[in-house]
């Protein structure tokens, strides 16, 4: 009995890590943009949805298999992010941040409208690249899809970390985000670095979207709840902390899954309010999150 309960618990943890990985990827996208542009990109979810539809079109209409479509979509999403920054965000970036916030909300609506117009609101199915098999690891039954999702998100996070930490362009990206004026003085072309940040964020979103679609189904609203979860994850980790976004995403994924299963009255339907509760509690108790540094203003 106890062993069975434990196995069941572990299954829920693994499946929570899989959804948490998706939240982490999108939360990391939010953090990258928040660090550089100073706002929450409310259109991050819709950008991801659009990219996922591109992947779907490539697989269904053009007969590509999942992974080539995945790679092509990653490339597309990067360009999409860069162009979005250059064309839409950059012109309003100076001055009040509210302007950028409103533009990102406008983008959310515009992209959502475009997706519905182009692909209709009908839910579509994107086949899982990992199949539907399950593995039995010491009595714990886990789905290959969950393991694959966790592996891909961890992989992409590690790649990004290597880029930011060990490459010249990564250093320039960080410098441009924390201190744009100084960065320009040493010769960093800051506006391009910001565009690059938007590109990387869009890639993370696209990956999150392509990993989500097989399990929840692809529709124009697919990423909206996930954006809320990602937002909660980013707040929980500290909105300016990339590590925090990843830890926050995984924690939230596991937590929500366990609450959904073990707390009867919450169930699957009340997960979203729980995420909002997390946002509220963190902002009230520790606004800088788990890994963020409290903001210190010199007077």
């Amino acid at each position: 009995m106890v062993a069975a309960a434990f196995a069941d618990f572990m299954q829920q943890v693994v499946s929570g890590l899989a959804s948490g990985g998706v939240y982490a990827a999108l939360a990391l996208a939010l953090v990258i943009i928040h660090r550089s542009t100073g706002v929450i990109n409310f259109s991050q979810g819709e950008m991801a949805t659009l990219c996922t539809y591109i992947a779907w079109t490539l697989t269904v209409n053009h007969g590509w298999s999942y992974w080539p479509a995945f790679v092509a979509t990653v490339g597309f999403s990067f360009l999409f992010g860069v162009v979005t920054h250059r064309v839409v965000i950059r012109p309003v970036e100076r001055g009040n941040v509210l302007r950028v916030v409103i533009v990102t909300i406008g983008l959310l609506i515009a992209i959502n409208g475009f997706v519905v117009w182009q692909w209709s609101g009908e839910p579509q199915a994107l086949a899982s690249p990992f199949g539907t098999d399950t593995l039995d690891i010491g009595g714990v039954i886990v789905s290959v899809g969950d393991i694959g999702t966790i592996a891909v998100t961890i992989g992409i996070v590690i790649l990004l970390w290597l880029l930011f930490q060990f490459t010249k362009v990564g250093l320039a990206l960080r410098a441009a985000a924390v201190n744009p004026n100084e960065a320009r003085l040493v010769g960093v072309r800051v506006t391009w670095m910001l565009a690059l940040g938007w590109g990387l964020a869009a890639v993370l979103g696209a990956v999150a979207g392509m990993l989500t679609a097989p399990s929840v189904g692809l529709d124009p609203q697919m990423m909206q709840p996930i954006l809320i979860y990602a937002f909660a994850a980013a707040i929980l980790g500290g909105i300016d902390s990339p590590l925090g976004a990843v830890v926050g995403g995984l924690t939230l994924g596991v937590m929500l899954n366990l609450i959904g299963v073990y707390v009867d009255f919450v169930g699957a339907e009340l997960k979203l309010p729980v995420a909002l509760l997390v946002i509220l509690v963190v902002l009230l108790v520790k606004p800088s999150g788990l890994f963020g540094r409290p903001e210190v203003k010199r007077v």
Partner: protein
């Protein structure tokens, strides 16, 4: 001596406010030149005009070539600007700050240059992993200088390096600048509130008043000039 930097009738504006009216000055290769003046005379703006961080008109030439565009272009042309209030990336490590200083370089000797910084700043290499924001004010100013050197600049612009630092550290800072000038032929244009140390460390100087060059001469001459003595040296 060949002229490295030449400003001819440079004007600069902050919105509607004119900060530089008519600034003409030259700096020769291997020279240390000081710019003195009261608050608001246009000292900082002169440096900003050179590095392209303020919109300006008139002619600014580095080694006979017009400098146009923003600070990225100036950095590429070989101008290293250490801004007022220490220009360090406080969230990044000491080594990362140094690497950023070499951002425009394409050669493969950046690592050697980082190691070489210990000649002038012995503490810097062993504390390479420390976040710049946790350094003392004096150390941050030294780091800003070291970062500027990492770009192997043709011209170093220093804006009020003495600001907020203890006198001993200011002297140490200027000693290193003079050493760099003598040993490596580094050309320096330094803006400084502390006229005494600026005149002692430079060969020539300009005095700015309300956006114009009011007076110029060798530092020795200016140290002896009565009006300079009264206004800026205080005796």
């Amino acid at each position: 001596m060949t002229t490295l930097l030449e400003l001819d009738q440079v004007e600069a504006h902050y919105g509607p406010v004119q900060a530089l009216r008519d600034v003409s000055l030259t700096v020769s290769e291997g020279e240390v030149v000081a710019v003195l003046g009261a608050n608001g005379a246009g000292k900082t703006t002169t440096l900003r005009a050179i590095s392209g961080t303020v919109s300006r008109s008139g002619s600014i030439e580095l080694a006979g070539k017009q400098i146009r565009g923003g600070p990225e272009a100036a950095a590429k042309a070989g101008i290293a600007h250490v801004p007022e209030g220490r220009g360090t990336f406080v969230e990044l490590s000491v080594t990362e700050n140094l690497k950023l200083g070499a951002y425009t370089r394409r050669d493969r000797q950046v690592k050697e240059d980082i190691a070489r910084m210990s000649e002038y700043f012995p503490w810097m290499v062993e504390r390479g992993g420390q976040r710049a924001g946790t350094l003392s004010g004096g150390e941050q100013q030294m780091l800003a200088l070291a970062r500027a050197l990492m770009g192997r600049p043709r011209l170093l612009l220093l804006d009020e390096p003495s600001l907020g630092l203890a006198p001993m550290i200011v002297r140490e800072f200027f000693r290193i600048v003079r050493e760099l000038n003598e040993k490596e032929g580094l050309t320096v244009l330094v803006v400084e509130q502390d006229a005494r140390i600026a005149l002692r460390s430079s060969s020539r100087a300009y005095v700015l008043e309300v956006g114009r060059v009011a007076l110029t001469g060798t530092s020795e001459q200016l140290q002896g000039d009565e009006s300079v003595r009264r206004s800026y040296l205080g005796y």
